[in-house]
Symmetry: C2
Subunit: 166 residues, 2 copies
């Protein structure tokens, strides 16, 4: 096997084998990533779709339905079914826009925040333990690779969330 070197830096990390392992790591890790919230939600009448809606409403309170739609990347019909049950159950509240009254601004209720915290804490526990095991340098790399993997539109959403958070 010829080792390709450019500027003294090995490019072995770009071999098909290395890239394949990254793909498989994503697959297996994503299973773990969703496992804990999934466990909490089974038994309740909710699923992963509800979790995602709750997460992003909690993360950006007052966002419109359209914003949420483009973050989640599903159709309005699909999201609507989820939002309807969440509103019926009193977890999410939709307030008519003050400046544009066609828009609905979404908020978690107290009850919604409680579920959000429960789900979020479970997911963060796993993530935090992975972070701790891997260390700060690894975490920085992790975030860099993931960000480079996103579609541009998703990267914009991600960056917007980052700003709001920092």
């Amino acid at each position: 096997m010829a080792e390709t070197v450019r500027g003294g830096e090995s490019l072995l990390f770009l071999t098909d084998e290395q890239v394949r392992k990254g793909i498989e790591a994503m697959f297996f890790a994503y299973r773990g990533f969703t496992a804990d919230p999934d466990r909490i939600l089974e038994g309740m009448d909710y699923g992963r779709a509800h979790h995602r809606a709750i997460h992003f409403i909690g993360r950006g309170p007052g966002g419109t339905v359209n914003t949420l739609l483009s973050i989640l990347g599903v159709t309005k019909q699909s999201l609507n079914r989820v939002l309807r049950t969440l509103m019926e159950d009193g977890l999410v509240e939709a307030r008519v826009g003050r400046v544009d009254r066609r828009e609905r601004h979404l908020y978690l209720t107290e009850k919604g925040m409680m579920l959000e915290r429960q789900l979020s804490e479970a997911q963060r526990a796993r993530m935090r333990s992975a972070y701790r095991a891997a260390g700060p340098q690894a975490v920085a790399g992790f975030r860099q690779v993931l960000e480079a993997m996103m579609d541009p539109e998703m990267r914009r959403h991600y960056a917007a969330l980052k700003e709001g958070a920092q």
Copy 2:
């Protein structure tokens, strides 16, 4: 905000905010991760489930149905539906085990390998470009965090694939 330090090393990377960003990065990146194969498969009669089966059969030719089942983490009924169509379409072949004739050992046919390559190349292109953008150090961290995020059983499967590959 109090900065917690232990042994001179900042633990700021373990704050809830940082961990949340990791969670969102996983969410958005996974969308990109699956986008290219999904695009290829739409129009064919296949979906993500077929892709996963094809990937792991291609990765470990001769594996049994049971092995694949535990890698994929679905029920045999669910996998069977996928495998049946793949075999009917001549992409996958099941050979009766020589030592234990109850077992079916799974292989990709030539046709199956062609589709595998097509899907894999699309997915690898994105992953490789992300790797290149982030650099070797980041990639190492990426892999470390993902591995720490897996459930133990998934980590075993992942490690087994690594061995076979190196």
